[in-house]
């Protein structure tokens, strides 16, 4: 059984003290961004009211406190994903910037003509376009792994695409459209055997399942704070120390240097080499507080609970004949994301109509146009869950779904 009470936990989140269109807010857009508990909101306030300074730059109290709190947040991230040391943890703005950093720094330095970069057709645009740029600039080749009818990457697809020509594989741990949890262990093993490095886009996984970067043996692992109860404007790049050490800096400027001469500069050791300019200290502290919160509930509990919610929702949805579901049927291969369509109704209308029932879901291409084209869908609606969602949320969601077609003049 669960060790937490979702109803009680929901009370930590002030956003739910309001009605949307006269109904209680049912927030099912957690794949896009998540809400913040008081514990995070209050930490940011506390920092701003008592300890704000520019870290690493001063010998006065506030600067010292800001430095300690920033470093402390980094320690929390390190433990959270089980990195070896804080030298392997770089704070960025978001997943997108983390991926761009790898592409600009690692990609532009180590990918050469005719080398192959392998990604999946289901990647988020942030894990596609940076590689298109590297491929174009370096005359390298960008290859796609395609999915089976349940949205999984077949083993033979992995084996035929990742070859001795492959220099880099970049893959989402969990698809933000299909909810598929990709076989990244197998992908990493295969890639390492053939000498390629693997970037894991953990934007959707880190908030929802226990991630251990050493156990996975990922070379790079990236995620965003705002999808895991933390503020916007803070993201993480994990990279193995040997790799980060050999990479050139990406953004340059204050704080990432050792000595600066008129025509040349030498750079600070890790992790500072990759953190140019004044960092988002309050974002980092908020992320630290979010990690504390998630760990107090327990990532394994969260994962278990979300599986329960998905199962509960899927069972109800599968009873509705005109609703179509994307992604794996096998619950062990998916996370708390359900992409769906309704016959004769465009997903944007679904989203607008559900909104009038207080239910927030997303509609569109979910920043995954190549996947949409591959699925031959112009768009889908997507419900994505988190620890504060309840069975009643799902009931309300299903209730809303059942009304959608009526609004558009189709007998239910």
């Amino acid at each position: 059984m669960l060790n937490f009470d979702p109803e009680k936990l929901k009370k930590d989140f002030p956003i739910f003290n309001q009605e949307i269109n006269g109904r209680p807010l049912i927030y099912l857009d957690n794949g896009a961004t998540t809400q913040k508990p008081n514990q995070v909101i209050n930490e940011i306030r506390r920092y701003n009211e008592t300890s704000h300074g520019n870290p690493h730059r001063g010998a006065h109290q506030l600067s010292i406190r800001a430095t300690e709190e920033y470093d402390n947040a980094k320690e929390k991230v390190k433990s959270f994903i089980n990195a070896k040391s804080i030298e392997e943890i770089i704070f960025t703005r978001n997943t997108t910037e983390s991926l761009n950093l790898i592409a600009y720094s690692y990609g532009m330095e180590f990918i050469k003509e005719n080398d192959e970069i392998v990604i999946a057709i289901s990647e988020h645009h942030s894990n596609i376009i940076p590689w298109q740029k590297v491929a174009k600039d370096k005359n390298a080749i960008l290859k796609y792994m395609y999915l089976d009818e349940e949205g999984r990457i077949p083993i033979d697809e992995i084996e035929s695409k990742i070859t001795s020509k492959t220099k880099l594989v970049s893959i989402a741990h969990m698809s933000n459209v299909l909810g598929t949890i990709h076989p990244i262990r197998e992908i990493i093993e295969r890639a390492h055997e053939l000498g390629a490095v693997v970037v894991v886009d953990g934007a959707q996984s880190t908030p929802h399942i226990k991630v251990d970067v050493q156990d996975l043996n990922a070379d790079f692992y990236v995620f965003s704070g705002h999808k895991m109860l933390a503020p916007m404007g803070i993201g993480v790049l994990y990279g193995k120390k040997e790799l980060l050490e050999n990479m050139p800096p990406f953004l340059t400027g204050g704080d990432m240097i050792e000595y600066v001469y008129e025509q040349d500069a030498t750079f600070a050791p890790l992790p500072f080499k990759f953190e140019a300019g004044t960092q988002n200290v309050e974002g980092a502290i908020g992320l630290g507080a979010a990690i504390d919160y998630l760990q107090s509930v327990g990532l394994n509990e969260i994962e278990k609970y979300e599986k329960f919610l998905v199962e509960y929702a899927l069972n109800k949805i599968l009873d509705i004949p005109y609703v179509n579901i994307q992604g794996p049927k096998d619950l062990s291969m998916r996370g708390g994301i359900i992409s769906f369509t309704i016959d004769d109704v465009h997903p944007h209308d679904i989203s607008t109509i559900l909104d009038s029932y207080g239910v927030a879901v997303r509609a569109g291409h979910h920043c995954a146009q190549p996947l949409m084209r591959y699925l031959e869908l112009p768009a889908t609606a997507r419900a994505s869950f988190y620890l504060y969602n309840t069975k009643e949320d799902i009931d309300q969601f299903i209730e809303g779904i059942k009304n959608v077609r009526k609004w558009l003049g189709y007998g239910s």
Binding site: H348, D349, W407, Y410
Partner: protein, 140 residues
């Protein structure tokens, strides 16, 4: 926001009927309009006789709002001169931006007057105006 004021009988009918959703043979003007962010994608086709829009149609995909808005626009402009059609476009955009509120003025917009309150749903405004912008591109 009142769903009733958006998903009206008229919108429903235009969305479902598809009486303007077809291909024209050898159109004189063919213009694509799209909202990349939401995936609405229509192609507007016009047959001109001198300055007169003799026939018009559209093809493509999109939500009920964009499909109905396009269909209502086509009903409105058929048989009109290009200049009259452009005037309609301005009137429609003015209505959406709440710059034109005079009932008499708006009556000239026919069925599409039902989209008057779409600005209460800012995320859907783009859907409502897509075909009108496309028409403007097509003939000006």
């Amino acid at each position: 926001m009142d769903l009733n004021s958006i998903y009206t009988q008229l919108i429903m009918e235009h969305n479902k009927s598809g009486h303007n959703k077809r291909a024209l043979c050898n159109p004189d003007v063919c213009e694509r309009g799209h909202n990349p962010s939401c995936g609405d994608d229509i192609t507007l086709e016009l047959k001109l006789n001198g300055n007169i829009i003799e026939d018009a149609s559209f093809e493509g995909v999109g939500c009920a709002i964009s499909q109905a808005s396009t269909s209502m626009m086509i009903d409105l402009i058929k048989g009109k001169t290009v200049d009259e059609a452009l005037e309609m476009v301005e009137k429609f955009l003015g209505m959406i931006k709440k710059e034109i509120t005079d009932e008499k003025e708006l009556e000239k917009l026919g069925d599409s007057i039902v989209l008057q309150n779409i600005s209460n749903m800012p995320a859907r405004v783009k859907c409502a105006v897509l075909s009108w912008h496309t028409l403007k591109e097509a003939v000006s």
